[in-house]
Structure formats: structure tokens, C-alpha cells
Amino acid sequence: MSANPNGTAPASAPLLQVEAISCRFGGLLALDRVSLELAEGEIFGLIGPNGAGKTTLFNVISGLTRPSGGRCLWRGRPTTGLGACGINRLGIARTFQNLRLFESLSVRENVLVGLHHAARAPMVGALVGSGPFRGHQGRLEAQALELLALLELDALAQQRAGDLPYGDRRRLEIARALATAPRLLLLDEPAAGMNPAEKDDLRRLIGRIRDHFALTVLIIEHHVPLMMRLCQRLAVLNFGERIALGSPAEVRRDPRVIEAYLGGQT
């Protein structure tokens, strides 16, 4: 998939359409008729100041929050009412801004839980631990280790997830999300708390897994320079409203973005 120089969605049917999503919490309008389209294979960035509604949009797309208006379409079909589990099974996986690992489980087990969909085995064989069942288990273990190796976590496989340092946790969340065999990966501030060198590594890692799994990636990140280099297209949210959409170059020039988001700094 090549970058889209003019920032418009490609002609082929979009993977995910976000249609006029609104989200109201009490008196607060967290999202105001936000629309987006993601094309298969692109890396799409979502930026905006704190409280702009980026994570809320993620929660809506991944089925954790029910929107008060609008809907999402996955390959043209509405995802309304599917819930987090159903949406994950469609092929949408996510990470969390505030890290939600299964902390009492080992690193390896976290990934195995992600492989839940693939772990279905015949009941009787599973109960008695038959030969075919053990073979199946072996393949799952191998798959988990492979994912861990890709994210450079294989040496830590037996550690308790809750004991990992911060950066490793971030990568483990990505590994766990990848284990669910997604087509679309939502990354919520994956570079938070990382130093510049680590951010650079992360950028390369995201590119690598996108290529390896032929993924589409939707990413929230505060670090604008990183996003400018990483993403083919960007959307900017401010106070729940989408104020800009386009290629990094377009967004950078957009007067509303400069005013609302970068205004204080330039």
C-alpha cells in the first residue's frame, strides 16, 4: 500500500467507516458528529489536544462505549451492538492508553489469551489431554513465542506481566492485540513515556508489523513529529469535533489546526 499523496481516501471500498459518531456524557459532548474512513493498509493518525475525544472515539470503534449517535461500518456492515468481543472477532484489536494487561498472568499467557479465538479445541480431547489436543496446544505455544519474538519480548516470556518495565508492557499490549489476528490495529498513545530513541524504535516497529501482517493501523499519539513521519493521513480532533483531515503536509498547513492545536506553540 502506498501513501496517499493528496490525503483523500482511496477509491476501493473502505475498511472502516466512522459515520457521524456523537458521544455525550451527561452535559459533555465528547464527540460531535465525527466521520472518518480508513482504507485497507494505511497508517492513519489521530491527533488533538488532551480531552479532544480521541480515546472516546477508540472506545466507540472497539465497542466499549455505545455512541449516542452515528455508527461504524466494517467493510460496509454496521457494527452497532456487537460489543467489544464481537468487534474484536470482526478483526479490530486495540491497545489501551493506560495499559490494561492481565497483570497476574505471565507474558506468554497474555499472548495466549489473545490467541483465544484460535485455541478452540474439541471438548473431550481437551479434557483428557489427548495427543491431537497436545499438538494443537504446541502450535499455539509456538505462535505465541513467534509473536513475542517479533516484539522482542521472547526472553521475558515467563515473567509476570505486572512486573515488566513500562516500555515492555506497551509492546506486550501490542503483541496481545496482534494475537487476536486483527485486520485493523488501534494503538492508543503507544509512545507515551518513551524517550526519543525508543520512539524511533517504536515507529520502525509499527511499520514492520504493518508490513508483516498486512495491517491497517489507526494510531493516537501526542508526539506530532512522530505522527508526521509515521502516518499517511491524519485527522485532528478538538473539543470532540474533527477540525481537519488530510496528509501530514496538508494538516500542518491547515489554519484551524494551527490555531486550535499548535496555536500556543507557534
Binding site: T55, N59, L64, T65
Partner: protein
């Protein structure tokens, strides 16, 4: 039985349920857990009232034959019994809750530790005064008649006292929560303990305050029930403890007016169960509780439950 009589009976029982549930709700609002020793504190209050009013311990138990050298009238005995129960509740907090808080252990463990404290209290009572039931002497009401007529119904003086005292305590508690420095501090801790701590509110002191108040209310409720029915034995608080849970959820966990409203509703609903069906009476409150949990888990007057993402 005519309607008015049913209303009077229901409201007076409901008032006790409300008082009892208030104690639960105070502790729940600051700690987010249920104090399963609350029923035992209620029982302690009932026995204190019995002793202060001049009753003598029966033939069983280590304290057989003991009586205080004085006999107080009911308006002296009830507050003192409440204070005694408050001290016991503080002791429960000290041994069953504070160590867990200090170790930052799973708050659900407090269910077990507080039950352990309750088991100790109940069995200690049994050891000291025996398992028999005690009736608080009717002379305790001083010169008041045992009952009086009201609009054609017969109201027992005890019932009127129950209702009056319960309403008085609730009114005082509400005024105090809204009007005083400590009351506001308590509410702040209930809202958000960490922020309250940052604002310089001593949350440990507030927790202690909540336990003291809850013990006082339970003790007074115990005394009132002992006065109006009898003390059926060391275990008689357990049933009230469970009924109090139903009231608590019905009204909304952590809501003061909710606890009172829930108590009155459960009391009234039970009063409307016909005598032939009295065996099913207990099912009324639990049925209510079940329905409320399924239809509106936050209860009638509770705040919406938080959902974290």
C-alpha cells in the same frame, strides 16, 4: 387488620430497618465495603439497653445474675447504649478494617474479617449472658401508657417511639452531614478519598467517624427492637443484618435518604403480607432486592455506577 394499623406497624418496623441500613451506608460510602459485623453491633446495643434499663442477666453465662446498681429511664439508656455500641464498632474498625487498609489489601477481604469480628462478638455475648431471650421490662417507658388510640387504630407507644427516634436521628444526621465541617469532610472522603487526603482531610479519622456513627445508629436500633419485640438471643441481629442489606441496595448504596426510604418501603411491604403467609415475609425484602439489582442496580436514590474504560 385495617389499613391504618398496617401502616403504623410497617412504618415503625421500616424506621428500624432504615436506621440499621444507615449504618451500613455510612461505612460503605467511605470504604466501599460492607461491614458484616454490623448485625452483631446491633445485638450488642440491644443487650446494653437491657442492662442500662435495669435488667438482670439470666442464669446462664459467665455473668449470671449480674445487674447494674442503677436503672436508667429509656431516654437515658438508649443514647448510652448507642455510645457503647459505637465503641464496639470502633473496635471492629480497629481490628478488622484498619490493618487491611494499611496493607492496601483487597477491600473484599474486609467481608471476611468483619464477619470474623461479628462471630467473635456474637459468641462472646453468648458466653457472657447465655443464649436465652431477654424481654426489656415494660416499666422502662416510665409513666407512658403501653399504647394509645390514633384515628381508630391502636398504636403501641414503642412503635411511636421507634418512628420518632428514627426520624429524629435521620434529620440530625442529614443536618450534620450538610452543615458541619466533619460532615462535609466525611462526604468528601466518600466522594474521592485520595483528593480529600490532598485537601488535608484526615481520611483515617473520617473512617473512624463513620464507624462510630454507624455503631451508634445500630446500637439505638438494637435497643429499640429489644424494647418493642424482645431480644431473641445473641444471634438475633443476623436476620436484621441481612434485611439491612436488602434495604441498603433498594435505597442505593451510599445514599443516606435512600437508606431511610428503602427501610420504610421494606417495612411497609412486609406489613402488608397477610398473617397466614407470614413465613413468606422474609422473601418480600429479598425479592425486592433481587428485582432492584436486576432493573436498577444503583438503587432508588443511588448515584449511577461508575464504568471505567
Amino acid at each position: 387488620m385495617d389499613l391504618l394499623q398496617i401502616l403504623v406497624n410497617g412504618l415503625s418496623v421500616g424506621a428500624v430497618y432504615g436506621l440499621f441500613a444507615l449504618g451500613y451506608t455510612l461505612v460503605f460510602s467511605v470504604l466501599g465495603v460492607i461491614n458484616f459485623a454490623h448485625g452483631a453491633v446491633f445485638t450488642v446495643g440491644a443487650y446494653f439497653t437491657y442492662l442500662l434499663i435495669g435488667g438482670a442477666v439470666g442464669a446462664n453465662g459467665l455473668l449470671a445474675g449480674l445487674a447494674l446498681p442503677f436503672a436508667l429511664p429509656i431516654w437515658g439508656a438508649l443514647p448510652l447504649a448507642g455510645l457503647g455500641a459505637a465503641l464496639v464498632a470502633l473496635l471492629v474498625e480497629r481490628v478488622a478494617f484498619r490493618p487491611l487498609r494499611r496493607r492496601r489489601a483487597d477491600p473484599l477481604l474486609a467481608l471476611i474479617t468483619s464477619l470474623g469480628a461479628g462471630v467473635i462478638l456474637v459468641n462472646l455475648i453468648q458466653l457472657l449472658v447465655g443464649a436465652e431471650s431477654y424481654a426489656i421490662p415494660t416499666g422502662a417507658l416510665g409513666g407512658l401508657p403501653a399504647s394509645f388510640p390514633l384515628l381508630g387504630a391502636r398504636v403501641r407507644t414503642v412503635q411511636a417511639l421507634l418512628l420518632g427516634i428514627a426520624l429524629l436521628l435521620v434529620a440530625m444526621l442529614t443536618l450534620w452531614l450538610e452543615g458541619s465541617r466533619n460532615g462535609k469532610g466525611l462526604q468528601a472522603v466518600a466522594e474521592d478519598a485520595e483528593t480529600a487526603q490532598l485537601l488535608g482531610i484526615d481520611s483515617t479519622a473520617m473512617v473512624r467517624l463513620a464507624f462510630g456513627l454507624s455503631g451508634f445508629l445500630a446500637g439505638v436500633a438494637g435497643g429499640l427492637v429489644g424494647l418493642s419485640v424482645s431480644i431473641a438471643g445473641p444471634y438475633f441481629g443476623i436476620g436484621y443484618g441481612l434485611k439491612g442489606l436488602a434495604v441498603l441496595v433498594l435505597g442505593g448504596l451510599g445514599s443516606v435518604p435512600g437508606a431511610v426510604l428503602g427501610g420504610l418501603i421494606v417495612g411497609l411491604a412486609e406489613a402488608f403480607v397477610p398473617a397466614d403467609w407470614s413465613g413468606w415475609k422474609d422473601a418480600v425484602s429479598y425479592g425486592f432486592l433481587f428485582l432492584v439489582l436486576l432493573l436498577r442496580p444503583r438503587g432508588l436514590l443511588g448515584r449511577p455506577l461508575p464504568t471505567k474504560v
